[in-house]
Structure formats: C-alpha cells, structure tokens
C-alpha cells in the first residue's frame, strides 16, 4: 500500500514522463531531419530507416556547390533584416503616438490595423503580381522587403504599443517638463526603457519574415529567392537527395529556431497581439 505522499510522488514522476514522451514525439521530425542530414543518400533512403549509421559531413560540404546555398541565405538575411528595419522605423513612432497621445480613434485604429492582417494574401496576389511585373520589382529583394514590411507592420505596432503602455506616463511628463523635445523623449527616455520589448519585436519580425512562404514563392524566381524558395525547389523529384534536402533545411532553420528558443516568452505577446503576456 502506498502512502498518500508516495502516491503523489509517483504521480509527479508519471506525469513528467508523459510530458517528456509528448515532447519527444513532437520534436521527432526535427531530430530526424538533423540526423538525416548526416547520412549518406543511400542510408537516408534505406528500409527500415536507420537510427545508427556512420555519420558524414558530405552533405554540408557539398551544399554550396550543388545549390548555391549562400546566395539564397544572403537573400533571406537581406530581406528579413531590411523589412525589420523599415518596420521598426514605421512602427515605433506609430506605437508611441497611440500609447502616449491617445485619442478617441486610437482603439479603432489599432483594430483596423489588426484587420489588415485578415486580408488573405490571395485576395491581392493578382494585382501585386502585375504591379511588381510592370514596375520591375518582380524577383527583387526590394520588392520582398516592401511586402514583408507591410504584412508585419500591424503585429509590430501592436507589440510595441503594449510595451509602451506599460511605461508610466509620469516618466515622459517629467522629461517633457525638463524641456525635452519629442525626439529626445523617444531616443533618450523611451527607447532605453523599452529596449527589451523592442528587441523581442525585432526577433518576431525576423522570424516571420525568414519563414514567410506565400509571397516569396509567388514573387521570386531565382535572383531574389530566399531560403523558403530554395527548399521548395527540392520538391520536384529529380532523383533522391533527401540527405541534402535535410542538410539545407537544417541550415535554413537553425538560426530561427535559436531565435525562437531565446525569445519564446516575449514572442507570446506579439503573436497574441498583446492579449497574452
């Protein structure tokens, strides 16, 4: 017969094991992808799939010669950082204005911004494609930066807005009474206080732009194609190169996965439009 305390301990251990089981199950595809990236192509296709094999770095060493990986990676970097930069330049003043100069329209403006996210991209795919074609933006990094800035702007405004809302107004008023101009107020008081929140907004924007796969697949062909498009090009079965697919995928996902791990708690706020903190 177990005592009550023992029963409770046993329960904790069992629930912990269950949690581990679920987590391993959900993580398994990523683990398997990384594992496969160290296999030879023959091992990658063997039946039954092998857990133990002699690992090789071949796939990683061949990545650039086979698919010009760095060209695509560079596009991803430029597009993500570019759109994040422009997004921040637009979003910080907007959030500042709504958080500290609140008017009757502030709430409806915020909700309206949220509603632009409800516009399904296919609804505007045709005109954007034609506009891009006519203006020479098709398959350019500038074009993707414009699109990503616009689609992430509402989330960034919302996220920064919720951080700004938490700053006591007194601090800004004090600075203002000391004769600070609006610019000084932002750069010398507001930004230093909220740098944690701004950093997680930057991370969220980088993650979303890096992984975006509707516009990148439709608006780029080769010269501006980011990693999402490179990976998609592996879907045509011109032979079996799954180990290489895995290596490319691992490299493409690793930086963002680490960003995500580092900022998981702060991201919740941005992803839920400030509703969950």
């Amino acid at each position: 017969m177990l005592s009550l305390k023992q029963a409770r301990q046993l329960q904790t251990v069992l629930l912990g094991l269950l949690a581990w089981g679920v987590a391993l199950l959900i993580f398994f595809p990523i683990f398997w992808m990384v594992l496969t990236s160290f296999k030879t192509e023959i091992d990658a296709f063997s039946t039954p799939p092998q857990l133990f094999f002699s690992p090789t770095l071949e796939n990683y060493l061949q990545i650039d010669s086979r698919s010009d990986y760095f060209h695509f990676a560079w596009n991803s970097v430029v597009v993500s950082f570019g759109s994040t930069l422009f997004g921040m330049l637009l979003a910080v003043p907007a959030a500042y204005s709504m958080a500290f100069f609140e008017s009757k329209r502030t709430k409806s403006t915020l909700l309206w911004m949220l509603s632009t996210k409800m516009l399904p991209p296919v609804g505007v795919l045709v005109p954007i494609y034609l506009l891009f074609k006519d203006s020479g933006l098709l398959d350019t990094k500038v074009g993707l930066v414009i699109i990503y800035t616009l689609i992430n702007l509402p989330i960034m405004v919302w996220m920064i807005y919720t951080y700004f809302k938490e700053i006591p107004k007194d601090i800004l008023e004090a600075a203002r009474l000391d004769g600070a101009t609006a610019t000084q107020e932002i750069t010398q008081v507001l930004l230093p206080i909220s740098k944690g929140g701004l950093a997680s907004t930057v991370l969220l924007s980088l993650i979303l732009s890096w992984n975006e796969a509707f516009w990148s697949l439709n608006l780029t062909a080769s010269s501006a194609a980011p990693l999402t498009a490179l990976v998609a090009s592996y879907s045509s079965p011109e032979g079996l190169f799954w180990a290489k697919l895995s290596a490319v995928s691992t490299l493409a996902c690793a930086p963002i996965l680490i960003f995500g791990w580092l900022s998981q708690k702060q991201l919740v706020r941005g992803l839920s439009f400030g509703a969950v903190k």
Binding site: L125, T162, S235
Partner: protein, 338 residues
C-alpha cells in the same frame, strides 16, 4: 483579497516595485521644477494639447498611410479586374463582362472542393491544435525534471519554415517505402499507408497541425502561468478532483487565450499555401486544393486574371465574415483592458 481574476492577465514584465520606484523618481523631478507648472495658463494648455495632437498624428500617419495604400490599391484593382475579361495570354481583349467571372469561378469544378477543403483544413487543424494545446499546456504546468527542455522541444516546430516542414514530413516521415511511419506500421505488422495518395488532405492536415499545435502550446502555456495557484489549491482542499479543477478553474481561465489562438490561427490557416505547393500541388485532382491554391493556379498557371480576381474577392469576403465574427468575439477583449 484578490477577486477571481480568471479572465484578466496581470502584467508580468513591470513589477509593482519598479512602478513605485519610477513614480517616486518622477515626483521628485517634478518637485524640483515647479516653475513650469505655475506659468502655464489655460490658453497655453490648450496650445500644448493641440501641439501634442499634431505630433501624435504626424507619427501615426506614415504607418496608417502605407497600410491604407496596401489595403486599398490592390483591393480596388482586384475588384476592377474581376469585372473585366483579362487573360495574360490574350492581351488587349479587356471588355467589361459584369459578374461573368464570378459566375465561372463559383461554378468551376474546383470551387466546391476548394471551399470544402478550406473548411476541413481550417476546422480540423483548429480543433486538433486547441485540444492538444490545452492538454499539453496543463501537462507541462506541473513541475518535473527537465521542464525547460521539454518546453523548448514542444514549441520548436512553430519556428520551422513551412516549406521545410512540408518536405521533411513528405519525404522522411510519410514516405510509403522509406518513411518512419512506414517502418512503424511494418513493425506492428500492418501495411504501410501511402498517405499522399490515400489520404492526401489528411496528410496535409497532419503537417499543418504539427506546425500549429506548438503555437497553441506556446500561448496557453504562458497563460497558465498567470493562473492563481492558491485558487487551485483551495479547490483541491475542498475535495475537488483534478477533472473538476480542470473544468471549473483551468478552462475558464484559458477561455480568452483560447479565443486568441482561434483567431490568429484562423487568419493564417485560411491562406495555407506553401504546404500544398510543395507536397501535392493541389492534387490528386482537386483533393488538396484550397481556395488560396485554386486562385494561385488560375492566376499564375492559367493566367486568367479576371477569374482569379473574382476568386480573390470571394476569399476576401469569406475571410472578412470570419474576421468580423472573431473580432466581435475577441477584439473587444484585446483593447478593453489596456
């Protein structure tokens, strides 16, 4: 005493202590410069107010303007294109055809399956991810060894780009010969399933659910942390079993975060594209074509701009109906407490 705060979220990032410290420092600054207060008369207060409004407007307008253009211009073009005959393969023949494009889009063989598949995809992924999300969030809310690592593993799939998760699932896991699923099926003596030819939509739902369960877990896990532990303990002392605690305390507490999960996921799930593009290409037949993919095939594969535009507009209307209902449900919650 705290009243039951099951539906509100205490702010975590600025602790009360910080706030008090801030307030103290500002009041001392104010005390140091009283002159400003005494000299500002009613008229300059008004002027100050106007100046403030101008600054506020100037800072807000760039964002509003670009978003307005982003919404209005393409949408106006879509409406215009949807009313004319416009095929990139036959340039010059752009006569006004009224609602003909809509008629053809709605009676197209792909439309019914596209609409139904969209519904299936959104509905089942929502159901799967919310149920799994709640259960997992409750499960990892207990303390156990290695909880930090478990949480990191649970949310990881959300950060994997859609094209990668689609191809990893298709080629490494669901492949009928060399896939891991096939090996598991064989291990139990069953015949491996060729997922993408037997249950193509099911396979897509599996992949998309794998991507979105972590999102639900991430949001709900964070929301669980603001659940009042004392309330739970009190209920337990009163003899409530774990199921009763779950139904009467945990679920009501999670109501709003669940609503948020449903809203955000609906926005993204209505436009699932990359997963279909890289795995099935909408096939076999129209079996995995959703509305987003149908419009894409008409615009960029068949070059029928007119018909694709009418489809795009129908997608916008559907999304707006969903958004209207969801914002009514949840939108108030989002701004009310701020």
């Amino acid at each position: 005493m705290e009243t039951p705060r099951s539906l509100s979220f205490p702010r975590a990032s600025l602790s009360n202590k910080d706030k008090r410290a801030n307030r103290m420092s500002t009041s001392s600054i104010r005390a140091g410069s009283p002159a400003v207060h005494t000299t500002s008369g009613p008229s300059s207060v008004q002027g100050e107010h106007r100046r403030k409004n101008r600054i506020g407007l100037a800072m807000l307008s760039p964002s509003v303007l670009v978003l307005l253009i982003w919404m209005a211009v393409p949408l106006a073009m879509t409406i215009y294109f949807s009313l004319i005959r416009y095929n990139l393969l036959y340039p010059g023949d752009n006569e006004f055809v009224g609602l003909e494009n809509y008629y053809y889009f709605l009676t197209d063989a792909g439309f019914t399956s596209g609409a139904l598949n969209t519904l299936w995809l959104v509905g089942s992924v929502l159901l799967i991810s919310v149920i799994a999300g709640v259960l997992i969030a409750v499960l990892v809310d207990n303390a156990f060894w290695g909880r930090g690592i478990v949480r990191v593993m649970l949310i990881s799939p959300f950060f994997i780009m859609p094209t990668v998760s689609a191809l990893v699932w298709k080629n490494l896991l669901l492949h009928p010969v060399s896939g891991v699923f096939a090996a598991v099926w064989r291990f139990f003596g069953a015949t491996p399933i060729d997922w993408f030819s037997e249950y193509p939509l099911g396979a897509i739902i599996m992949i998309v659910s794998w991507q979105w369960i972590p999102f639900a877990v991430l949001i709900l896990m964070t929301a669980m942390q603001s659940l009042d532990q004392e309330q739970k303990d009190a209920a337990r002392l009163d003899g409530a079993g774990p199921i009763n605690v779950f139904i009467h305390i945990t679920l009501p507490h999670l109501a709003r975060p669940i609503a948020v999960v449903v809203m955000i996921e609906t926005i993204f799930l209505l436009s699932i594209f990359a997963e279909i593009f890289t795995t099935t290409g909408g096939g076999p037949g129209y079996e995995t074509t959703n509305l987003a993919f149908l419009i894409y095939t008409q615009a960029l594969l068949q070059f029928d701009v007119g018909m694709a535009s009418s489809g795009g507009l129908i997608a916008v209307v559907i999304a707006n109906i969903a958004a209207f209902l969801l914002i009514r449900m949840i939108g108030k919650n989002l701004t009310d407490k701020s």
